[in-house]
Subunit: 169 residues, 2 copies
């Protein structure tokens, strides 16, 4: 029973990350969202805003981590968990390690840039002074679908724009 | 002759990064500094401010990169070079890759956390969509000495504080 409650709670936090990802989509950003949880409370939220702010560091995880640090007045996020809809890239994996985050839960795999399972296993390197527990695939289908839908819509838009240009010419 | 001028110019930029590192030391931060150069102009500067802002993302490179993005109004730093006094960690290497920075010049190696040469070769991974030219050891002795001096001073302070406590007890 307790196990089931824990599982439901994890899904609830991931749904908050998915909500964040939807916020990104509304801004025409690649829909990726993240939340940081400490002691049962969400203390950091973020969604990808790279295009809006034209800042390469504005990934969902980075923004959620910065918010969590501000909340705790500490760069040490030792008792914190991070929920993110997509497998973190190298930069975000580095921030997770530097912040000593305890548990990472992510949704969909990122075969091209994922640094947790796909290209590297950065969060499980015994040479570093910290390792992170990782659970992948949490609401993974939903997280992945959201990204597929986004990129499909972009391709459609591009195709339509291309057709329009050809008719004009 | 041209080659020599180029070498002198690179050292000049690294000296600016060292100046930034001194700024960090004045704030009792680990002395690491960075500058981003575009078209012969410094468009981003940063020094480590992790302790001051209690934000785990406030590494010298990250702050310099964010400033450069703001200057260019673009997250793409394709024609930019980064000069940093210490070998970048995983997080900063990821930001360098994400920003598609062209050349990285760094001073001292970081055997414990360096992700460019020491623990990983993240900037030279053909599976990723970008690779970075790397030159290490630029004013390396000076950069390394600054860090050694800093940590030695900390150890001295700690020793003195410990002695004081023992005398009190």
């Amino acid at each position: 029973m307790e196990k089931m409650e824990e599982e439901n709670l994890k899904k609830e936090y991931m749904r908050m990350a998915i909500e964040e990802a939807h916020q990104a989509a509304l801004l025409d950003e690649v829909p990726i969202g993240a939340v940081v949880v400490h002691d049962g409370k969400v203390i950091g939220r973020g969604h990808n805003m790279r295009e809006r702010f034209q800042d390469v560091t504005y990934h969902a995880e980075m923004l959620a981590i910065t918010e969590a640090c501000a909340y705790l007045h500490s760069w040490r996020l030792e008792d914190c968990d991070l929920y993110v809809t997509l497998e973190p890239c190298i930069m975000c994996s580095g921030a997770i390690l530097n912040g000593r985050i305890k548990n990472l839960y992510y949704g969909a795999k990122d075969p091209k840039a994922g640094a947790v399972d796909s290209l590297y296993h950065l969060l499980n390197d015994s040479r570093l002074n910290h390792q992170v527990n990782v659970e992948s695939g949490l609401l993974g289908a939903e997280c992945g679908q959201m990204l597929s839908d986004f990129f499909q819509a972009i391709r459609k838009q591009r195709k339509a724009a291309h057709k329009k240009r050809r008719v004009k010419d």
